[in-house]
Symmetry: C6
Subunit: 74 residues, 6 copies
Amino acid sequence: MFPNKRVQSLVGRRIHVEMKGEKFVLEGVLASADDYLNLHLSGANEILNGERKRLLGSVILRGNNVVLINPLKE
Amino acid sequence: MFPNKRVQSLVGRRIHVEMKGEKFVLEGVLASADDYLNLHLSGANEILNGERKRLLGSVILRGNNVVLINPLKE
Amino acid sequence: MFPNKRVQSLVGRRIHVEMKGEKFVLEGVLASADDYLNLHLSGANEILNGERKRLLGSVILRGNNVVLINPLKE
Amino acid sequence: MFPNKRVQSLVGRRIHVEMKGEKFVLEGVLASADDYLNLHLSGANEILNGERKRLLGSVILRGNNVVLINPLKE
Amino acid sequence: MFPNKRVQSLVGRRIHVEMKGEKFVLEGVLASADDYLNLHLSGANEILNGERKRLLGSVILRGNNVVLINPLKE
Amino acid sequence: MFPNKRVQSLVGRRIHVEMKGEKFVLEGVLASADDYLNLHLSGANEILNGERKRLLGSVILRGNNVVLINPLKE
């Protein structure tokens, strides 16, 4: 399974996402993902030092600025 | 709904946008968005520490430099 | 009007452009723009703290490194 | 063999990956790779100063943020 | 004339190029340029504070990392 | 000769490559290169202050993170 299909298989699950630029980390439920790894998360939080820092709710993330995606254990 | 269509569904609403590079944050009304997440905002302000810092008015933002898009509550 | 067409509608007008990397800001007359937001400016100046810092004349700017485009009032 | 095919030939082997931004280094088994060098690693660890710092498990890495890929000796 | 054609019109002339990342500046004769603004310079020098710092000779520059291109007066 | 063909003409020769991010410099023999300037180097070393710092061996470099390619004299 190619990496982008692997991401799309995670729709509905909580994921951990690390974005480019000063370690900007988010967690939320993956609502949708396209082949460019543009991501739509619902119930997203910004995470700092492992703690929830900021409630963002519904966010769209630009794929080219995604560094790493990690499914969270449930 | 794919992430770029989700963004296009926000046309006419106020959004919060975080750009790449030193936490450059804007808020404004989404006038248009294409599939690359190039954005046209009207009545845009630059935001610093949650305060309006600079009135920009009509701005175009390059999609690949968009990190995060968040609809604002109205 | 999609964001790139909005930029092309500004040909012949003075624009303010913010580039990626250490807040590199330019102003000049938009001579041409393509769909990738590659820009050709004439009579361009680099701007620092709102002052003209360096006369550049004719410059080409690579679209993916453009963060923000703002038409200037005339 | 083109570079992306060379990467795909490493599927099933442990690789060392250096990502953009503050020397973010990972090691893991390459589960899949596409032509954009999007990578799916299993059993991935973040590496700091040559030591395993953080167990990440299954991760997807965005190709444009990959700087360097190096097969590990086994 | 679109920006990339404008660059191609400069083949054979000395140009000033500013690259992404810590103000990396080069000058040299433009030997070729494609539509992505990948550039081949001959007789290139790295420039620091307006002085020639390092003779590089023949160099290829990746278009997406080009910030600004400026023809030099002759 | 377009810049990417110029790079492909260097296959089999030692090249100097500067990557994006904190002046990450490598030298090695170019084993292959595609049109995106993805590079496969063999016998690669990381270079720091003109000295060989780290033997990397076979490495793949992502084209969009390549800043500059320079053939080495032999």
